[in-house]
Symmetry: none
């Protein structure tokens, strides 16, 4: 339903809602077994939840659209990803707790290597260790440009964040990554006339960076992309009347949730740590977004067996989550990442909603084919919040 209507209907109560996102959840059959990762996996707890609850398939953005993780999560948070466009630069910046302000333009940076002709030989500089890239970041911090403050922050391995802060900056800019080795980095190009001055500043930054990194063997150049300003997203807390917490290991997901008004809770690297965080803060929030990254990472690596194992590993620990007895539990994916494609895809994503008021349907197990039989059918992922709130008794009647 429309966000405006959802906002009008939402009321408070003392229910607990959990959105468990298995990143890159959907898959395709293995050519040998003709079974998908979910069909292959031994997942008794997810199967039971599917059998007891209401299932379906979600379309993250639109038919045929392969979403990045940003749009995929925004949809599950109840934000139409075609309306709310959050740039990668801002996502990276908020993900490392950088206090993005209204006059900032953020970019995702990669250290890379270029050869004598200036052609890219490695777009990720061999995934240079964070300790080494942090030293290079220090060097980039010495760049000075007229009229703007410059922030350069290390992220992980070859990644960093660049933030320009100043009046009159614009983000209608194309990135410099040609997306292949053997090509030269592109200049930053303004997509609108008013963005030209910002493009000039960024190109000057890149030339200074080239000089400062010259002679470095491991990483002698930078690539910038995802130029973006702070997006003013409507507040999850205000609109849905939910005190919301995010439990995620990767910075980008924490950052995205914070942009929506979630409190980002500290958590260790393992799912067990995330569950411990969930238990520790169970009393403080109404809505918990719990992010599980391993499924997507394995899918992106094209590692079918590892994805199967990642799903099984999560399933084995589910009872600890179920012991908390959430009033509404949704298990969903932000998009499919079929191992056989080794990439995100556009395929509809398995979805289950478990609550006292969720009708058990013909679904007997949690996988693509079974969820197709579910009573929810094929629904836009953005409807998940409407369903979660409804099943939590948090939506008032519409009309007399």
């Amino acid at each position: 339903m429309e966000r405006d209507l959802l906002r009008k209907l939402a009321v408070q109560n003392d229910t607990k809602l959990v959105l468990l996102v298995l990143d890159g959840l959907g898959g395709l059959p293995h050519p040998d077994t003709r079974r998908t990762e979910l069909e292959q996996a031994d997942i008794p707890h997810l199967d039971r939840l599917a059998a007891e609850g209401s299932c379906g398939l979600t379309i993250p953005v639109a038919w045929g659209v392969t979403p990045g993780s940003g749009p995929g999560h925004l949809a599950l948070f109840g934000y139409d990803p075609l309306v709310h466009d959050v740039g990668r630069g801002v996502l990276e910046a908020v993900g490392i707790d950088f206090p993005v302000g209204p006059n900032d333009v953020c970019a995702r940076g990669n250290f890379c290597t270029v050869d004598d002709q200036g052609l890219i030989s490695d777009r990720r500089a061999g995934r240079i260790p964070t300790e080494e890239s942090s030293v290079l970041v220090e060097r980039l911090r010495t760049v000075r440009l007229p009229g703007v403050e410059i922030f350069v922050e290390p992220v992980r391995e070859h990644r960093f964040v660049l933030v320009l802060r100043g009046e009159g900056l614009h983000d209608e800019l194309d990135g410099t990554d040609p997306n292949r080795e053997g090509a030269a980095p592109l200049p930053v190009r303004a997509l609108t006339p008013k963005a030209r001055a910002t493009a000039d500043l960024l190109n000057r930054f890149i030339e200074e960076a080239r000089g400062l990194l010259a002679g470095e063997k491991r990483a002698n150049m930078v690539l910038l992309r995802g130029f973006s300003r702070y997006p003013h997203l409507p507040s999850f807390r205000d609109d849905f009347k939910l005190r919301a917490a995010a439990i995620a290991v990767y910075p980008m997901y924490r950052g995205l949730a914070r942009l929506c008004g979630f409190t980002s809770l500290p958590g260790g690297g393992a799912f067990a740590d995330e569950l411990q965080t969930l238990r520790d803060h169970w009393g403080e929030f109404d809505f918990f977004f719990v992010h599980y990254k391993k499924t997507d990472a394995a899918g992106e690596d094209g590692d079918f067996e590892r994805k199967v194992h990642a799903i099984e590993e999560l399933d084995a620990q589910l009872p600890q989550l179920l012991d908390l007895k959430p009033d509404v539990l949704v298990v969903a994916g932000d998009h499919a990442t079929p191992s056989v494609m080794a990439a995100h895809s556009w395929h509809p994503v398995p979805y289950l909603l478990h609550s006292r008021t969720a009708r058990a349907d013909e679904t007997e197990a949690f996988n693509e084919a079974q969820c197709r039989k579910g009573c929810l059918g094929i629904i836009p992922a953005v409807e998940s919040m409407s369903l979660m709130l409804a099943h939590a008794g948090r939506l008032t009647k519409y009309g007399a």
Copy 2:
């Protein structure tokens, strides 16, 4: 997805896509056997494609809407038929290669017969042979009207095209066919004040035609409908980055495809000829629209068995198409034409998509009931292009 988004995401690669349209594909059960035309037909190849691929049902325009062939095809080409309205007159004109210009108003004309009181006795003049109607067309070409050029072109049997060319013409006009025998032809009526002058001109043309045809036994009057100007459709080639070819026997389908920017390939009258054309031009294009008319013709005639046979005839020749190994093959209909209704209908239309990345679903055969179990569910036909492009790997990721 929105056309604008599709345009942004579409990229080129070297895949081959085939859209095979069985005109009027969907049906209803025969009262004796309770089986639809597709359920009755022996179609091993279509059944296998359905079993291997992803199936669903399409809504051509909207729930409950019975589409003409124009809107039905536009949707499959990725043009929302509620946004892009292509008049019948223009369709007929471009279908016979008439060079429609920006100042033209086109109409579909029918020769008909009227009795002594001027009431219609046969709306199609007994489907008068083309040779005879061509003679009458010559006679209509002698009509002169102030301020406009007049073109009259024969089509087939009782059909012709009338084009008025001149400044300030408008096409907000109602046709003259009362759609039943025993009634008098209606005058052309302007639907807006600015179209009044054009209506006057057309009514003068009709009166002149009545005079010129008086005394003719086979066809002594004309009916005009589908007044329309050249529609400026966005380019299929530019938007989807596809070199597209149309292989169709009937002029209207070729014309419609040309309006979208397809190249219309010459083909003989039989499906075997169409397949030969496909083979001959396989290397030159990325996207092939192949049109099969027999299914609709039989359905419109209310001939259940002939429609069954038409489907079987196509199925038997399918291996020649499959031998080309298209990366994405869609088998679809522009609308249903149930033989028991002897007319187009609004029923959702069986749809199958076959490609390496299409998940096999529970569909075991290609028909209405089986497609309902397909993993695509019931989708707007306009989403077909999104799916074809996605499965061809021709859509980039949306968002970071």
